[in-house]
């Protein structure tokens, strides 16, 4: 639990402070992993249904899907703006 909390806060810090979309993505992954760690830790107390572990599996798959789409978006944004600094991307349509 404590490890999970610390990881979540590090992820939050990365998201807010970094100026690079890829680093922000890493922060998001870190926060997701913190949540999954909690699921797994409490899944130990559910032998018959395995609720925690199965849900952790679903969460991992969702994280993978999210990352794939987010990286595609980042590449697209990079191709259009030649930068991946989110502070500099300020127009919705050109």
């Amino acid at each position: 639990m404590l490890v999970s909390v610390v990881l979540f806060c590090i992820g939050l810090f990365i998201i807010v402070s970094k100026k690079n979309a890829i680093q922000i993505l890493i922060g998001i992954e870190l926060m997701l992993n913190a949540a999954i760690l909690n699921l797994v830790a409490f899944g130990k107390f559910d032998k018959t249904n395995n609720g925690g572990q199965v849900f952790a599996l679903f969460a991992i798959v969702l994280a993978a899907a999210t990352t794939a789409v987010a990286l595609a978006i980042i590449l697209n944004v990079y191709r259009r703006y030649k930068t991946i600094d989110p502070d500099k991307i300020n127009q919705l349509k050109d």
Partner: protein
């Protein structure tokens, strides 16, 4: 201190330490590879939480899939990414990062408070689980249960997530295609 506890503290230290270095590092490549270490530490923690299947899945999907994707995107966005990473010459706790640091620290305090108030070892449902022997045994493996559960009790979420993965793949391919030349 037993061996399991020692392993837990070792894994926790590796995970948190490498995550901190990811947050503090200025070099993007180095932080990506340290994220790799963090993921391995997390997989070790899963094993210690008696979830071996989740640990293997974590290694396969995160280390094999997501990290390679991130590296791929990093290589494709090339010099610009490196330039912005180098440009960020600020210290870990500097004026630029101070609001972010304060936010994260306050959130840490709140979450720690919640964790200590929750009094994990005395939660009623955990007590009933221990009383009814509903705890995953240390010597057995739960993979069999997980497989049966995925095909029976969790069949609907399983199918839904497969469709969602399909949609995400098609969407990602569509997003990253070359723009057609305007005639």
């Amino acid at each position: 201190m037993s061996l399991v506890q020692a392993m837990f503290y070792l894994m926790a230290f590796v995970t948190v330490g490498s995550a901190l270095v990811v947050a503090a590092g200025k070099n993007l490549v180095r932080s990506i590879f340290l994220f790799f270490v963090t993921l391995f530490g997390l997989a070790g923690l899963y094993v210690l939480a008696l979830a071996d299947f989740v640990a293997v899945t974590q290694i396969v999907i995160y280390v094999g899939g997501i990290l390679v994707l991130i590296l791929f995107a990093f290589m494709l966005s090339g010099k610009e990414a490196l330039a912005t990473a180098e440009q960020q010459k600020t210290k870990f706790i500097s004026l630029h990062n101070l609001p972010a640091f304060i936010l994260a620290a306050l959130f840490l305090v709140v979450m720690l408070n919640v964790v200590f108030k929750a009094d994990i070892n005395n939660l009623p449902w955990i007590k009933t689980a221990i009383a009814t022997k509903n705890v995953v045994p240390v010597n057995g493996t739960g993979i069999n249960d997980i497989g049966v559960g995925l095909m029976t009790r969790y069949l609907l979420p399983f199918e839904v997530i497969s469709v969602l993965l399909m949609i995400a793949l098609v969407g990602a391919a569509h997003l990253s295609r070359k723009e057609p030349v305007e005639a």
